[in-house]
């Protein structure tokens, strides 16, 4: 029972971080209807920019994070302006391919600037862990979970109650209709990419603080959450969080309790789950069901 509780608590905490990454996918999809496969690379850029400020420029860590955020916003806006802007009105696959092109280009730029050697932040979160009964939970994970939940709340408020948020949702729903009522799509897209890049940067910094930085393994965290984003529904913020937590839980619980099915089931479990869910509910658990017309 102790083991089970411990695994659940860890799964929840790590899952919250995955949820934050998943949120990046959802944000861009909600505003522009694009599945951004370069999410992992956006995370990597955020994490490395924070590394530049905190280690290379010797700025205190929290100040460095504060400096990273505007840079990340700028990167998001630049990517939208110079790459995704040309993709308005293009077929789905071209847009996906554009994000793949970005993914490869960004990996190249990061490798060029920062090399392939692993890098480390200064000690960010305290290494000690807190004990609640028999369960140990480290402050690192608590911080990660707390930050993730904080951002999720902000986004829920943003999309539900602010004008920009509503405008973004309208644009994602129907670009042409949005245009016809006087919404500047370009502005909306630019904003959404900037915000998504910012989210990704926060996710990247958290992961960097947990396991360190290197240019080769970051992209995999982005792809890891992809199935659960779809599980929740591409346009559902709570879906992303629940999906993220789900993947955190499977990663921790599956090897312990389904280990008899063979090793590595934790990598497969999300995909099998998402396949089953998608066959029953084609738009994910919380996704918006679209009514198609000819």
């Amino acid at each position: 029972m102790d083991t089970f509780l411990q695994l659940v608590v860890t799964g929840l905490a790590v899952g919250a971080t995955y949820g934050l990454i998943a949120l990046g996918f959802v944000l861009i999809y909600k505003a522009s209807g694009v599945l951004n496969l370069a999410q992992g690379e956006l995370m990597m850029f955020g994490a490395y920019i924070c590394f530049v400020f905190s280690v290379q420029a010797n700025i205190p860590f929290y100040a460095a994070v504060a400096l990273t955020l505007p840079v990340a916003l700028l990167i998001g806006a630049v990517i939208e302006r110079f790459f995704l802007r040309y993709m308005i009105g293009q077929p789905l696959i071209s847009v996906i391919m554009m994000t793949i092109g970005l993914m490869i280009l960004m990996r190249g730029i990061a490798t060029w600037i920062w090399g392939t050697e692993p890098k480390v932040y200064p000690q960010v979160f305290p290494q000690e862990s807190m004990s609640i009964g028999s369960v140990n939970i480290s402050y690192e994970y608590l911080w990660a979970a707390g930050l993730s939940i904080f951002f999720v709340l902000i986004y829920i408020i943003f999309f539900r109650f602010t004008k920009s948020g509503l405008v973004m949702r309208a644009t994602s729903d129907d670009e042409h209709a949005a245009l016809s009522i006087g919404i500047s799509i370009k502005k909306v897209l630019s904003q959404s990419w900037a915000i998504a890049a910012l989210t990704a940067a926060v996710g990247g910094i958290i992961i960097g603080a947990l396991v360190g930085l290197d240019t080769t393994s970051f992209p995999q965290y982005g792809l890891k959450v992809l199935p659960v984003v779809l599980l929740g529904g591409l346009d559902s913020i709570p879906g992303a969080i629940i999906g993220g937590i789900l993947i955190g839980l499977t990663e921790n619980l599956v090897p312990e309790y389904l280990g008899f099915l063979g090793g590595g089931m934790e990598e497969l479990a999300p995909y099998i789950l998402v396949l089953i869910v998608l066959i029953v509910r084609p738009h994910g658990l919380f996704g918006l069901k679209r009514i198609e017309r000819i």
Partner: protein, 422 residues
Amino acid sequence: MGRTLVKTLSISILVIILMTLPLLIACSDDDEKTENAPEELPDIHVGMSALVTGPYGAYAPITWGYLDYMKDLNERGGIDGAQIEVHWKDCQYDVAQSIAAYADYSKSYDLVAFTGMGTGANLALAERCAEDGIVLAAIGGEPELIWPAQEWVFASSPNHAIGALGAMQYAMEQWDEGRVARVGIAYPNNPFGQSIIGPIEEYASELGYEVVEKQEFELTALDAVSQSLAFRDDEVDIVYVQGTAKSVAVLCKDMDRQGFIPKMVIGPLHVIHPAFPELAAGTGEGVIGWNPFYLWPQDMDNESVQYWRDKALEYSSGDIVSEEDPYMSMLYMWGLSVGVLLEAGLREAAAEVGAANITAEALRNALENVTNFKTGNSGFQPGIGFSPSNHEAYSATSLMQVQDGVWVRINNMFESPWKFAE
């Protein structure tokens, strides 16, 4: 409409130029190669499917080490005056690209040896090399490649089994609890990870420990709580982690958080990275890594280490050695070791048949006659030698340990208990 035509035509021309440019450049390169003036002695051709870019780009120093050794060998006068020409191409750890490079070089030049990167590529190349009669000078790694000894495959440095068992032997020497030590293994599901499980289990009774737990552990995992709990529940004394600096650090941190401190944590040579103590944030203290080379900055009193540090600085413009970065030369030395293997074989072959007549066949036969080859420049590893039943350059390793946040050498080279089946 006229403007449209101009635009169409200009974009068309741009696309055509984009398409033909690579072709033109590729062709012009071929011309350059034929312009080389003939020299007195024929060049000795060796090939390499290198690894510089791509997802495994972190292993690029292996390629730089190999190339630097060849450059240095040529500057020292080559093999009795015959220069060595290295043909290499970046293959990104990719089997198909490696095979294309091999097919190209083996047909275009009279290759005597080829070096591949990555397990998959080496296994695929081994068969082709055997068919064409070209020596595959492999970088030591997976025991599957050289055990049993294949006719044309030679490994330049100890494989993972040798290192792992050397480290286990050391661990058992330190063991004084008066009971059988309980060993846990964490490994990723790839050739790198699986190659050590068999040997560690096989030598359990001989060295006096038992393997009680095996856990899969991805190299990119964010946490290792379930692995830590499994090790804790099984009361593991010694944890052997087949991982990289990053993944071992994650495991160390999570074991620490669970309040579980094993008597010993051992990792492969990949762990010996200057960033590891920092990555593990204090929990990496006492972690042991095996490595088959003398390195900088720890072994600067070793003349050859000093020599190669200067050479790396001269050849590689600060990417391998930089003053502010405490770069550790593990991968670079790995590449150098292939150079040592080739030099040993070529010198022996030159002594047997003369530098002008070295063929792949002569190199292969000569390699099997090499015993304890060691020069001033190869002092970063023990003397190397081969026999018809043993194609591994040497089977010694040494150990390093994290002490006060830095890697410290804890012993010199010693023979690993791993024995080849005759």
